[in-house]
Symmetry: C2
Subunit: 195 residues, 2 copies
């Protein structure tokens, strides 16, 4: 994306503005939801709307780019946490990270159900990138005898997403937290197999 179709690298200002736009969009979406006006994003990035539209021909392209970037960051956090903490702690912290990610998507769930084909591949992208990350953490924790070994990463993520997203507004509700806690306790149950 930082390079045009031919091998030539993009111009320095183009790269700089692309980054600024992504950062600004991430912040604005988190603050005002994905329905925020494009002008707000361009302004926060210190850039004209023309520039924004050259990098992201449609508003939805920007949303998709931010979504993917955040998914990637969440996936990357799995490796980091796995190195820094022991299996149980790493899994717990990463699930918390994932919950924050899902809960912060104000307005995105509506966009996903809007029928706009631009958003159609997003759920698959999320699963494709986060399920392996979660799977690694789950297996490590299972090997350490902290959680059961028969939990599918995709099922766990899907369940958490469903429990957290109905929230509607920005933050996560206490109710969602309780339900997710139950779920996580569930994967700890009988971790070492029945005697």
């Amino acid at each position: 994306m930082a390079e045009p179709k031919d091998g030539k690298p993009a111009r320095a200002d183009a790269r700089r503005n692309l980054h600024a736009l992504l950062d600004a969009a991430m912040e604005v979406f988190a603050t005002s939801g994905v329905d925020a006006p494009v002008r707000d994003i361009a302004e926060k990035a210190g850039v004209g709307v023309g520039t924004l539209y050259r990098h992201f021909p449609q508003r939805s392209d920007l949303i998709v780019a931010v979504f993917r970037k955040e998914v990637d960051a969440c996936a990357a956090a799995a490796s980091t946490l796995a190195e820094e903490y022991e299996p149980g702690e790493a899994l717990e912290r990463w699930l918390d990270r994932f919950i924050q990610f899902v809960a912060a998507k104000r307005g995105l769930s509506a966009a996903l159900h809007s029928g706009d084909p631009a958003f159609e591949p997003l759920p698959a992208y999320l699963m494709g990138h986060l399920a392996p990350a979660a799977s690694g953490l789950l297996q490590a924790a299972a090997t350490a005898g902290i959680v059961r070994s028969d939990v599918e990463a995709a099922d766990l993520l899907m369940a958490i997403a469903h429990l957290c997203s109905p929230d509607g507004k920005g933050g996560i509700t206490k109710e969602s937290r309780r339900m997710v806690s139950l779920l996580i306790d569930g994967i700890r149950y009988n971790a070492r197999g029945r005697p």
Copy 2:
């Protein structure tokens, strides 16, 4: 709604336009989804946008009114069908009616998840009116020994709604139809209790 706050009935033209607007909105929403421009609806009703906005101060008010009217019509169909057909046939036909209703709500599911407080009471309205209707048909069919008697109307409706709505576009998919068929076969299973 056809009468102002005081007892006086609304003027004839006001009543006429209200009806025309509701009919036009129903048709346009079915054709172009709930995101259709207000102007289209006003034009199809043969009315100016000013008139539309006097009757429905916000676009969402019109959506809500149409939704409620359709729910009411669907609920009323239950009585009609119960009189015209024997229990099994009546239930089957009504469920088909309900499926059409759910599947035709193009874009409405997105609106429901949009966080707009105007749409918040709609799911409860739907359940409040359709669950009793479905319950009556179910009980009659159960008494006739055609379906099981341990099926909750609300569960059945919710399940059908979930199976049909993910569709996205206007019509209902073959996949949804198959899943719903399975579900309906499920309520027929072991209808007369186990021997």
